[in-house]
Amino acid sequence: MAKPITTIQKRQMTEEEKRTEALAKLKAAVGDSEEAVRELLEFIEQLHESGLLEAANALLKAREDVAKIVVGQLNQKPVTTMINHAFAIAALAASLDPEKTAKLLEHIAAGALEAYEQNSAETKKIGLFDLLKALNDPDINRAIRFFLSALKAIGKRFRNDG
């Protein structure tokens, strides 16, 4: 009596039916989270007004091209070198004692400021004798000792690098 059937007649939903069904689902979802949807709309409005939405859209549409450009740019030797520098400097900074560094920078900055002020007041040319006399100034002497020690320390490291 019942013959085997292999044909399925799909119920073809009209476009109108499909739309109604989709809308019904959407309406239910919106109803479930009304607050959030309201906030989202406001947020979108802001994005739109500021022009950010437009920019983001454009960026998204061009994402493959943009990615290629970005990666291409990144891969240029100067860029990778710069990034490697950044990593190196970051690593150096990470290894220093911030308290000492702060003190040092503070001294240099204060000294520079004072020097700038004095410099603008004095106009007389410094001669060799002035320079030797200046060595006797305890403040100048201290600063020179600092730079000499620094030169020695750096030089030692160069020797180790061999």
């Binding site: 009596m1 085997p4 059937i5 007649q9 493959e64 891969n75 990034i83 990593f87």
Partner: protein, 987 residues
């Protein structure tokens, strides 16, 4: 207990450990972080990576391979240990590029990544060097790829292939300049003996071996075009920041992936082993199957179907709307229309003819909860016991044999007993293909731990090839050799007298019954040499524990039940019950054969094996269901069809069972189905059976719902919902409930959990199987009447009122005789790649690529005699029907024996067009294995039906695991350990 423990000091703290444990095991047990790239517990210490080196009493040793000793002092992080670990890791990283953020394996579980991070590796000492040209990445296999340039040559894949799966395909070419993994000594993966089990991919600690389904899918940036991705990898290489920075970025990306990739625990539905694993999904896409060590049955093991066979879930051919027969077509309908129609028609038939005019066929593929509801629908709403499931086609004889002898219808132990047995006997089963993960445990124990293996089969399958003793008894005569061996054992005085005296009835009667079964008689009936029978008896006698595994080769015979009982008798006589490493293991074929029976989807049994004739049990259910329950068993599958033919059965409601193809004498079944007044079929595909339906209800497969399955070990395991039901399809439990409600039943189950609570309240065996107890990877083996977890049955008592077992007293039943013209025996069964008729597995492109169509195996002798070759087209004709198939000539079969796998969804090639109506005389299970045919040659040669890329054509390459000694012998290998300190270290 305490006295046996050893005390060790690790990093200055004292720990107690069991003797025999390795340092690494103790370290892991206490959660101490320690590198161990090449260590996977299931594989043991393979010692290839050197990253776990620790300082042990001052000497550098591998923690994975060093057993703890009392008083041992271990430093995991001493400067020397750390230096050795770092050097070991540097050696690995020379082979691997850490482009984690754009790598599909960066999912938080990449062992290499996590180890490098834990060790705070900042830079690699030896710069990365690719091993081969990028074009040599092996993409040939349909399911996975191998990238030698990312491979760290740790060899876990090799160890898994050689010693866990024991397929023996992979090896490492240790003598090569740059060692890498090779397949069958160096062929493309797809051309190798690989059986696609997935072990290698699962254990790979990085992205060298990956599921193809993950590639370009898992990461946010991994799907980018090559012309963006490759420069990106170059960029990372060029910048070469310290790895901490790379790891930080990749961690963030991995965390983002977590949000998008859903990981759901599920239980496999392709056989009765009950493997569980995570399924990773992204939307509806199945990214991969991820096995985990916590899985109680399989741990990290899988087979091709479980690991890669899930495409059917998203198949275009899925039924997604209810269908109603109108004229010559099925019309899509709404659920209300379809359910109203089903309720109206079935209700009317019940009113007019009574509930017994309807038959209910439940499924061994759906959940316990759904099976329970199906029998409840039959018994409560339709007041009939006419409910059965497909175990009628396979396992009822085994259950019957066990009920009669030991009292419970299930495996007496677990996979762990099989793995630890001294001797495994496999009769009429091919676990290497039908129950692959159980087979791995036997193969591993046999290869590594001296387990003995006997195989009795017509066909020389893989297990037979590996066996210590392989016998080929004539079809249908297994009971004779089993009884002869039992008799011989008793005659020799090798039986377990004390066990029998204390625990078994009817020994004297049994001995009398055995009188006739002499070795001579057995040799004459079965064709097995006397010497082999004696050898079997000796091996059982010598073994420390014997497990017998059997399958359809035993049960699908006219004497299937009695043969099953004879197996149980043999185990009883030798005391092989109630102890670890021994027992009876009927291998359940489908994921929930056991559960379907447990749930009372059987004409004579209420849920939890409470017989319908048991007044007390019936009263309990009558009270719960509010109806009278007939004390007379209902109709089984076979009887339903007979009743339909007589016009007594008017309607059927069939879930998930393609009985039009899988029942014997399929022609006849299809005629009968066509005669019924009303047929409802619930399935996920338009199966052959569904084509006869009046209403088809679209169901949801396991990944789209939750529930529990019970595997062959009686282990109850939960599976969770990974995906939403496709289209309008619905979980089976929902559909059954809707029908019941329309017929006035007061059912209001919110979900499977509530159904299980009801089961627990009515079936004592399941009384502790509540969902919270089964959370996550937890499981429970039923077996006690208080519902307690009972992995090993019969430790104290057998399941009879007096606690004693019974020898079953039955002579063997001769197989069906055929007229002489049917000169060929057509054996049938399953092969590895496909499940059942193949409705699910042919939907996988990869599986179809490896095994596109069914074929008949013909022996070389017969092929020669009939003048046919591989690819010949033949017609096989039995008294009941005919099929047309292509030939595969192979010496797996011999003489006049053919083998026709059941994997066909078309009448033209379905084995059951040939099988006859004879059944097991106790359970009505069809005697599928006793089919005979004659053969007509249509074409003498043709295209071979099995592609040459199928592993059956390839030769395995066995070796002793990963063979790390060959690595150590390399001239460029500088040891990091100091095992030989004081001997070789001179200065």
């Amino acid at each position: 207990m305490g006295a046996q423990m050893v005390t060790v000091t690790i990093n200055g703290r004292t720990y107690h450990a069991k003797p025999g444990m390795t340092i690494l095991e103790v370290v892991n047990e206490h959660g101490l972080p320690h590198p161990q790239v090449c260590y996977t517990p299931e594989l043991g210490a393979i010692q290839t990576c050197d990253t776990c080196i620790a300082e042990v009493n001052g000497t550098l040793l591998r923690a994975c391979a060093t057993p703890v000793e009392d008083g041992m002092v271990v430093e995991l992080g001493s400067p020397r240990a750390k230096a050795a670990q770092k050097e070991a890791m540097d050696r690995l990283l020379e082979n691997h590029l850490l482009y984690c953020t754009v790598c599909d394996n960066n999912n938080g579980n990449c062992k290499l990544h996590n180890t490098a991070e834990m060790m705070q590796i900042e830079h690699q000492t030896y710069p990365y060097r690719p091993k081969v040209d990028p074009s040599e990445v092996d993409m040939s296999h349909p399911f996975y790829r191998y990238d030698p340039n990312q491979c760290i040559a740790c060899g876990q894949c090799v160890e898994a292939c050689q010693n866990l799966q024991v397929n023996e395909t992979l090896s490492i070419d240790w003598e090569a300049e740059r060692p890498r993994v090779v397949w069958d000594g160096g062929v493309p993966i797809n051309e190798s003996s690989c059986v696609s089990c997935g072990h290698c991919v699962t254990v790979c600690p990085c992205n060298a071996l990956m599921e193809k389904s993950m590639l370009g899918e898992a990461g946010f940036m991994t799907g980018l075009d090559k012309d963006v991705l490759n420069p990106m990898i170059d960029f990372v290489k060029e910048v070469e920041p310290n790895y901490t920075a790379i790891f930080a970025v990749s961690e963030i990306e991995a965390a983002m992936r977590e949000q998008r990739i859903k990981k759901t625990k599920t239980v496999c539905t392709f056989c009765g082993v009950g493997c569980s694993f995570e399924v990773w999904t992204k939307g509806r896409k199945i990214l991969k199957i991820q096995p985990v060590s916590e899985a109680p049955v399989n741990a990290i093991s899988t087979c091709v179907k479980g690991k890669f066979g899930w495409d059917f879930v998203n198949s275009e051919e899925r039924l997604t709307k209810p269908l109603i027969r109108k004229g010559d077509v099925f019309i899509e309908s709404t659920w209300d229309e379809a359910l109203d129609l089903v309720a109206e028609k079935l209700g009317a038939i019940k009113r007019q003819y009574g509930g017994n005019a309807i038959g209910f066929i439940s499924s061994s593929k759906i959940s316990n909860e759904e099976n329970y509801l199906m029998q409840k629908l039959a018994r409560q709403v339709f007041e009939t016991n006419n409910v059965d499931n497909c175990s009628r086609y396979c396992q009822s004889p085994a259950t019957d044999g066990l009920f009669r002898t030991v009292g419970m219808g299930g495996d007496s132990g677990t996979i762990h007993d099989i793995a630890s047995a001294g001797l495994v006997i496999i009769i009429g089963a091919n676990p290497a293909e039908g129950h692959p993960v159980i087979a791995t445990r036997v193969k591993r124990a046999h290869k590594l731990f001296g387990q003995k293996l006997i195989v009795a089969d017509l066909r020389r399958n893989e297990m037979a090839e590996r066996a210590d003793l392989f016998i080929r008894p004539k079809q249908g005569t297994d009971q004779v050799w089993l009884m002869a061996v039992t008799k011989y054992i008793i005659d020799q005085g090798w039986h377990d007298e004390a066990f029998i005296r204390e625990r078994v009835h009817f020994f004297e009667e049994f001995k009398q019954l055995l009188e006739k079964y002499t070795l001579d008689y057995a040799e004459q009936v079965t064709g097995v040499a006397k010497a082999d029978l004696i050898r079997i008896a000796e091996m059982i006698h010598e073994a420390d524990g014997t497990c017998v595994l059997w399958g359809m080769g035993v049960t699908q015979n006219t004497g299937g039940s009695d043969t099953s009982a004879a197996i149980s008798n043999l185990l009883l006589a030798t005391g092989n019950y109630g102890r670890p490493g021994a027992g009876a293991f009927p291998l359940r074929g489908h994921n929930n054969v056991q559960g379907a029976c447990d749930m009372g989807s059987l004409p004579a049994w209420l849920p939890g094996y409470q017989h319908v004739t048991d007044d007390e049990a019936r009263a309990k259910f009558e009270k719960a269901y509010g109806v009278r329950i007939d004390a007379k068993p209902g109709l089984d599958n076979i009887q339903m069809l007979e009743a339909a033919e007589r016009g007594e059965l008017k309607a059927m409601y069939i879930i998930g069972e393609d009985m039009a193809l899988v029942d014997c004498n399929a022609n006849h079944v299809q005629e009968t189905l066509a005669k019924l007044d009303f047929v409802v079929v619930q399935d996920i595909f338009l199966s052959k059976t569904a084509q006869f339906a009046d209403v088809i209800l679209p169901a949801a497969p396991s990944l789209e719902k939750e529930g529990t399955f019970t595997n062959t070990e009686r282990r109850i395991q939960r599976f969770y919902q990974a995906l939403e039901p496709l289209g309008d399809s619905k979980p089976d439990w929902w559909i059954i409930q809707e029908i019941a409600k329309r017929l006035g039943a007061d059912w209001n189950y919110a979900g499977p959990k509530e159904i299980m609570d009801e089961i627990a309240s009515l079936a004592p065996l399941y009384s502790q199987a509540h969902y919270d107890r089964l959370e996550g990877w937890n499981s429970l083996c039923w077996g006690s009447h208080d519902g307690a977890d009972t992995p090993l049955l019969y430790k104290e008592r057998f399941n009879f009122p007096d606690g004693k077992a019974r020898f079953a007293l039955a002579d063997w039943v001769e197989p069906v005789q055929y007229p002489k013209e049917y000169d060929l025996l057509v054996n049938n069964g399953r092969l590895l790649e496909h499940f059942h008729e193949g409705n699910l597995t042919y939907k996988s492109k990869g599986i179809e690529h490896k095994f596109p169509e069914v074929f008949v195996e013909v022996s070389p002798e017969l092929a020669k005699e009939r003048g046919i070759e591989d690819g010949a087209l033949v017609r096989l004709i039995s008294p009941y029907g005919r099929v047309k198939v292509r030939v595969l000539v192979t010496d797996r079969v011999r003489g006049n024996e053919l083998f026709l796998p059941m994997h066909s969804t078309a009448n033209e090639s379905a084995i059951n067009m040939l099988t006859g109506p004879q059944t097991d005389h106790r359970t009505n299970t069809p005697a599928y294995k006793q089919a005979r045919v004659r053969m007509e040659v249509i074409e003498r040669s043709g295209k071979t039906p099995l592609p040459r890329t199928n592993p059956r054509f390839k030769k395995r390459h066995p070796q002793n695991g990963v063979e790390v000694e060959r690595k150590w012998r390399r001239s460029d290998y500088v040891p990091l350990t100091e095992e030989n300190k004081g001997v070789t270290i001179g200065g």
